[in-house]
């Protein structure tokens, strides 16, 4: 109870927006507020309409499509005919890895069909996500700590760190493709003859290395922003109290940077779960580097409706991860501000 009460008083001054809004209302012009509300509606309308056209419509259209069968071939005319309603068949086919059987009905998808790759693609996607986000967090934190210090040429370092992030992913993928070519720099430098894009684990590591190289700066910058919000006097006070560097990092930096860190991790996780261009260009999805997004794109060429079902599934998976994350993250932020509040007193 006590810890739950703790954050409440802390929170209201923190969410300072509300009191400020109450200020003018207190002055007493309710009509103004009302007309302001109307104004706001009108001003927001174009944005909302635009969003409805470019987001809501495609989403609904895609969900409707996912309940339609893909076009089948009329054996007599040789022309495609519309498939008709499918119910949940498209979804069931993906989840159970079932493919159409020649005589009607379904069979377990043989190797070489996209349907047989759903679970392996899901596993690959999660593997990439966990490994890349972990590496990026650790390296990003380290880079942020360096950039937060004052030293000569700091702005140069900050700008330089941003370069990989500024390069379009497709270009990054091509660059690493050359590096990881058999006659490429990677093999020459380490005097190895690894088939980077031609065998399973090297291919996976190639994707991970390229992704970490590209997106660590993003992580570093978000964490740096969080670091700079920590007032210097907190550190000074800790120093005066005789805290070691490690203690200062663990007891001050880590808890205070945690909200920023969690948002950065959330963003990267959602991004990594949608990973497409890097493996698509680097390996073409060979050697078990096919992610869910690659599978969706490949399926689009074979049938829109099954692809719509697969992207809806992908969405639900990513949504669930985001949901778990935000719930977990939200709980943590409250707990943390309570704990630090207590600690200070």
């Amino acid at each position: 109870m006590a810890t739950e009460l703790g954050p409440t008083p802390v929170k209201s001054p923190a969410s300072g927006g509300t009191p400020v809004h109450h200020g003018p209302k207190g002055v007493g012009e309710d009509n103004k507020i009302l007309s302001q509300g109307k104004w706001a509606t009108w001003l927001l309308a174009p944005t909302i309409i635009a969003l409805a056209v470019v987001i809501v419509y495609p989403i609904i259209s895609a969900i409707v499509m996912s309940f339609q069968k893909d076009a089948g071939l009329d054996p007599v005319t040789g022309l495609f005919t519309a498939g008709g309603p499918a119910g949940f068949q498209n979804y069931v086919n993906w989840l159970a890895q079932q493919c159409a059987a020649p005589g009607g009905g379904t069979v377990a998808c043989p190797p070489g069909t996209l349907g047989g790759q759903f679970w392996s693609a899901t596993a690959t996607t999660f593997f990439f996500t966990v490994v890349t986000v972990t590496l990026e967090t650790v390296l990003g934190f380290w880079m942020a700590l360096i950039m937060a210090r004052t030293f000569r040429g700091r702005s140069l370092v900050r700008a330089a760190v941003l370069v990989p992030w500024a390069i379009p992913t497709a270009v990054t993928a091509k660059l690493w493709l050359f590096i990881f070519a058999f006659e490429g720099i990677a093999n020459k430098l380490f005097n190895t003859s690894i088939l980077w894009t031609g065998s399973e684990w090297p291919a996976k590591w190639a994707v991970i290395i390229a992704d970490v190289w590209k997106t660590t700066p993003f992580m570093a910058l978000l964490i740096l922003a969080g670091l700079q919000m920590i007032p210097a006097d907190v550190y000074e006070a800790a120093k005066v109290d005789g805290a070691t560097t490690w203690q200062r990092f663990r007891m001050i930096t880590l808890p205070l940077v945690k909200p920023a860190l969690m948002v950065a991790v959330l963003f990267r996780t959602l991004d990594a779960l949608r990973m497409f261009d890097l493996p698509y260009i680097l390996t073409g999805g060979a050697n078990n580097t096919t992610t869910l997004s690659i599978l969706v794109i490949n399926q689009i060429r074979q049938g829109f409706n099954a692809a719509a079902a697969l992207s809806t599934i992908t969405f639900i998976i990513i949504f669930l991860v985001a949901f778990i994350f935000v719930r977990f993250l939200g709980a943590n932020v409250v707990e943390q501000s309570g704990a630090t509040g207590k600690g200070k007193k």
Partner: protein, 427 residues
């Protein structure tokens, strides 16, 4: 940051939009173009020609020439990207929306059947008929679906076996003969043979060539898979065996066209299977080590020339076009002998007219033409099927495993067979 819960709906909408928007364009599929195919047959007026990036600048001069002669039926050239996949998806989107603005479309040979089956391409018969008698037969087959011509062959492409004249006195005629010459490569400490074995469209090309060259075929005459045969097995086994015993170097599993060309030009290969474009680069690039020792021959087969896969592009008229009479005239203009010659000299694009391959002036300029003619005459179009995207994936996936030795040739072929059967079964 204060209350990350607000992120949730926003994040949800964002993810959904991104994951789904890619397929927002599709609706139902047109059930054949019966009505549309009858419309606009006599229509004349301005039209649009759609083609991928005009890298060697051949289309613009042709369009200008046409426009000068036809002021009332001007052609607008719409240039797509240079990525085949993106070109395919762009055409699909416009046809799906029944766009009348895509009158004449440049279609990769492998898409022709798919687009025809969707009912998007105007059958080139009756009023729309064209004369194909002077064109090489395999190129016409590539534009034909279910006995009807849907697209006019415009440019072609066939495989050539490049070899080192200094190490091999005469080119091998058969696969076994070529494998027998691999001891020469070993003695010189270089790789013996390479094609394109990375897992992409090029692998479909190479695997189909192996299967066709030993007398098998991926699909039979009715478009059904026919891979459980001794011939198909012998073909794929040729590749798998050569990879296992090192006649195909290990790194070839990462090769696409450019990597394999580079290896050959660096003098690291005895034999290379590639397209005609390699010739110009191999004899002119400063770093090329094979400039003076470049030999060219048709692909080796079982007991004669092998069966190359066919590349190239066909021209098709959209059923939604309003000015089909103009479109047909433009199509004839773009496949005329004059245009074909211009393509060959200006863009090094292989002609579809047999006579041009014997044109001495042209051969002097493009010395690979006689070899290419043999190659194209013996070529087999890649599987002509409206399910090509699924068929090519099935071939790539399984051929890749078979070549790497991750599964036996038999099970790879039977999986290929089952995958293609499933793809064409519909739902």
């Amino acid at each position: 940051m204060k209350s990350p819960k607000f992120l949730l709906p926003a994040a949800a909408a964002g993810i959904l939009a991104i994951t789904l928007s890619a397929c927002g364009g599709g609706g139902g599929t047109t059930g054949g173009g019966g009505g549309d195919a009858e419309q606009g047959l006599d229509g004349r007026g301005p039209i649009t020609y759609v083609q991928g990036k005009d890298n060697s600048n051949v289309v613009r001069p042709l369009v200008e020439k046409w426009n000068a002669a036809h002021p009332n039926e001007k052609v607008t050239f719409k240039e797509q990207t240079d990525q085949a996949d993106q070109q395919h998806d762009d055409i699909v989107q416009h046809f799906q929306a029944k766009d009348a603005g895509y009158d004449v479309v440049d279609v990769d040979v492998v898409w022709t059947a798919e687009f025809a089956a969707k009912g998007w391409l105007q059958p080139l018969k009756d009023k729309m008929a064209i004369d194909t008698s002077a064109m090489l037969k395999p190129t016409v087959e590539s534009g034909t679906y279910k006995g009807t011509l849907y697209a006019a062959p415009q440019t072609s492409d066939g495989a050539i076996l490049y070899y080192r004249k200094d190490l091999v006195p005469t080119a091998p005629k058969t696969w076994d003969e070529m494998m027998g010459m691999c001891s020469i490569a070993k003695a010189n400490n270089i790789g013996c043979f390479a094609g394109q074995f990375s897992k992409y469209e090029g692998l479909t090309v190479n695997a189909s060539e192996a299967i066709n060259s030993s007398g098998g075929s991926v699909l039979d005459k009715d478009g059904k898979p026919s891979l459980n045969t001794g011939e198909a097995k012998a073909g794929l086994e040729n590749l798998a065996k050569a990879y296992a015993d090192g006649n195909i170097p290990k790194e070839a599993i990462t090769y696409k066209e450019e990597e394999s060309r580079q290896a050959f030009q660096d003098g690291k290969l005895l034999f290379l299977r590639n397209w005609p474009y390699v010739y110009n680069l191999a004899v002119s690039e400063g770093s090329s080590k094979v400039k003076d020792v470049l030999g060219m021959a048709a692909l080796p087969g079982k007991d004669g020339p092998g069966a190359s896969s066919l590349g190239g592009h066909n021209l098709a008229v959209s059923v939604y076009s309003k000015n089909k009479a103009t479109a047909l005239d433009f199509l004839k203009f773009m496949t005329s002998e004059e245009t074909e010659k211009f393509y060959a000299t200006q863009g090094s694009l292989a002609p579809v007219l047999g006579s041009l391959y014997d044109d001495q002036a042209l051969v002097a300029k493009l010395p690979y033409l006689p070899v290419l003619k043999t190659s194209i005459e013996n070529a087999v179009p890649r599987p002509v099927t409206p399910f090509y995207p699924a068929v090519t994936k099935a071939i790539q996936e399984n051929a890749y495993s078979a070549i790497k030795g991750e599964k036996t040739v038999e099970s790879a072929l039977s999986d290929m067979q089952k995958s293609i059967e499933s793809a064409s079964a519909g739902q």
